[in-house]
Amino acid sequence: MTRSALILTLLALCGLASAQAWRTAYERGLNAADRGEWKIARGHFLDAIASRGTDSEEPSRLSGPVTEPRIWRAGAPYSPNFSAAYTSYMIAMGVADGPERTSLLIRAGDELRQLIQQGQRSLGSAYTLAQIYTLLGDQESLEALEAENAESGYPFRVDRSVMTSEEQAAIESIEGQRSSTGPDGIEVITVQAGSPQAETGPQSLTDPTNLSGRVAPNPSKFALLIGNTESQLPDGRVSFAASDVQAMQETLTRFSGYIPENIDVVQNGTADQMRTAAQALAARLPENATVFIFVAGAGVNIDSSDFIAGVDATDPYITSAMIGKDELLRPFLAKGAKIFSFYEVGRQIINGRYFGQDVPPSGAISQMMGTMPGQPVRSVLVDGAERGVFSLAMQQVLGRFKSNQVPIMEFAWQVFYAMRGGNATNPGGGGTQTPTLPVLTYLSADSPF
């Protein structure tokens, strides 16, 4: 080896340092978020910010030969600040109610607020901020945010890969409702009918029986209602489950065109009983039927799959006494049915997982959760009887529709507002419980049930 070659070797070894640190950190952050490791993910996003500090909705060009242009992640936005704020929100969701959680939510809210004030008003930021204000019970800020959203829209694009699949789906559902262009060509999400501003009619929302008449039955509509009041799991008891199912049965028959013979009810069922009921109902389905599924009870998410606990389940990590959500739905999918499922199930976070994280990848399915991740389901007293906030709102809205063709997304929005509202004559949740918008798989926003 010549002396000059040795000199060159030494020169080459000088000053080597890792490059493109932002990309490595950001991708590590996404991987950690995908595993539900929110604290680790936030650390990586903060590292990314240290290397490249500003969120950008433009494609990021990677280093490469000039003759071979390379675009990072197929042109996805670079959103470390949004992602760091979102992970802060998810960290809060994993903490029990209390000062620590409040502090984390406030931090996340401040970070998102800062992004919006910098002109980066995105649907992801607005949606997450709305969830935070709801959890904090900050109605004033929530209303102000909604007013801003209505006026300005969401012109900025963020990378939503860090968000849970459920929330991504919810945001995509919101995007599907864009209906008008506001000033300066900015798209504005129009609040659907059913918002507090759009309410019409004098009917009391507390008692659907005030509304007279039954809706014409539709023989192609079926329903499976599961209400498991009892549970041997820690915090698994839903004391109002059985009564909610009874009330739901009545509502579907009176106001939504379901034939009583087409509604099967399971109360305090084991996994085998739920399984048998689903199979028996599916056996009666014609092709392309509509199936309404309501579950009130305990549920868990294990290894990315949702399970509904039977009343004999004693261990939240053992699935032998549970039925998988996909197993429950499978018999109906096999008959080509459209499934509209609603879950009044507590979503406590266990080892970073919670019920409802499992989004069905196939089949025509709508999945709506009665509460947000990390939250239990709650009840209110109506005429001395304990009623689930979620099911009560559903019944109220179905009573208002009085139709055998209820569009899912409009229905969901009305349930959302019904639960957030609440006064002396309309005991909604008062903001103590917020549902998630339906995640739609191969269904459009106006698919009816």
Binding site: A17, A19, S63, P69
Partner: protein
């Protein structure tokens, strides 16, 4: 009698060839058929492919997935007539031909320890001049039946490593060179001996290359520089080709995107300096500059990219007996979208009346 005894290598050193010689000078500057060949090699120091292991190891840093490249091209040959005295003949090149086709590059690069490791074989220099005689003497003897061949082939085996460091790419290669350089001739001294001799042979040596690149922040331009050390050849080759010249290069490549389509234009310029090759008996190399300019238009249609290339290169002769090279280059590539391979076809036409060289290169990325 061994006429070789009457003949010393020193005599060959004195004035090996007269100024009429026109052997295309590819002793140390053969383009092994990279995509840059279609652009007159003007982007070779700023490119990122397996050829970078030799041209500029910093370019290996651009390779982010396992990549295999193979190039093949013709190896041009010439025919010359020598006159005067065999010890210091005048050489007049009569004709050149495309010669045989051979694999001139095979390389494999893969991500390694935060950078990219590249291993490559490159044919870096080649001449083959077949000789016949005109009026020719060997000292006091007239010569008849002269049959000679001057050839040189330089193979370089390279292991290089390149990686990003901050805004820059840096790279280092270790080079093992094997050369076969010789003059073979046989003739009859009229009234004297039959002479059959070969001067030179095989030899090898080691060298290194250091490279640097700086892409612009928007990725639309790159400036690059590299230096390769001269390589001392031992063995019999050292008798005629003592030292492979080093090479220093600097170049700039930039891209202009079209707003309305995915097409883009790339233009490049590169300056090379060959140095440190003096002192060889036959293949004595002068220090010299060479430059190339080129452009490539990347045309997007039918779910593929079709780069169309054009360039010009000037390479002055590196020593007595060799001719300058004025070369017009052009080429075409095919890069189907979403596929794991691409193909390049390039040409180099000698504007001084020589042959048109042809090269084909195939790139394969098994990870796609």
């Amino acid at each position: 009698m061994n006429a070789w005894k009457h003949f010393g290598v020193g005599a060959l050193v004195a004035t090996p060839f007269a100024a009429l010689a026109q052997i295309p000078d590819l002793v140390d500057a053969l383009d092994a058929g990279s995509r840059a060949m279609g652009m007159a090699g003007a982007s070779s120091v700023t490119d990122g492919n397996t050829h970078s292991a030799l041209n500029n190891p910093a370019g290996l840093a651009f390779i982010i997935e396992p990549t295999v490249e193979v190039s093949a091209r013709n190896l041009p040959e010439s025919d010359s007539t020598i006159t005067g005295d065999v010890s210091a003949p005048s050489v007049n090149t009569n004709d050149s031909s495309t010669g045989k086709t051979a694999i001139t590059h095979a390389g494999y690069a893969f991500p390694f320890k935060g950078g990219t490791l590249g291993i490559a074989y490159t044919l870096a220099g080649y001449i083959k001049d077949s000789r016949s005689q005109g009026p020719l003497t060997d000292a006091a003897f007239n010569v008849s039946g002269y049959d000679g061949e001057l050839r040189s082939q330089t193979d370089m085996f390279t292991v290089g490593y390149g990686r990003e460091s901050g805004r820059d790419n840096w790279g280092l290669s270790l080079i093992y060179a094997n050369a076969d350089a010789r003059l073979s001739e046989s003739f009859q001294q009229n009234g004297g001996a039959f002479v059959d001799r070969t001067i030179g042979g095989s030899g090898n040596g080691f060298g290194a290359a250091l490279g640097w690149q700086r892409p612009s922040a928007d990725g639309r331009s790159v400036i690059g520089a590299s230096v390769r050390t001269p390589i001392e050849l031992d063995g019999a080759a050292g008798n005629v080709y003592e030292r492979i010249p080093g090479k220093a290069s600097i170049g700039y490549t930039a891209r202009m995107d079209r707003d309305s389509t995915a097409d883009f234009l790339v233009y490049a310029a590169q300056l090379d300096y060959y140095f440190g090759g003096e002192g060889s008996a036959i293949f004595d190399r002068d220090d010299r500059f060479s430059f190339g300019i080129g452009a490539e238009y990347s045309y997007h249609r039918w779910n593929a990219r079709f780069p169309i290339r054009l360039g010009y290169r000037y390479l002055p002769a590196g020593g007595s007996g060799f001719g300058d090279r004025d070369v017009l280059t052009y080429g075409l590539g095919w890069r189907p979208m979403g596929r794991d391979f691409s193909i390049d076809l390039n040409f180099a036409s000698d504007l001084d009346g020589g042959v048109t060289d042809t090269a084909i290169g195939i790139t394969y990325r098994p990870g796609n």
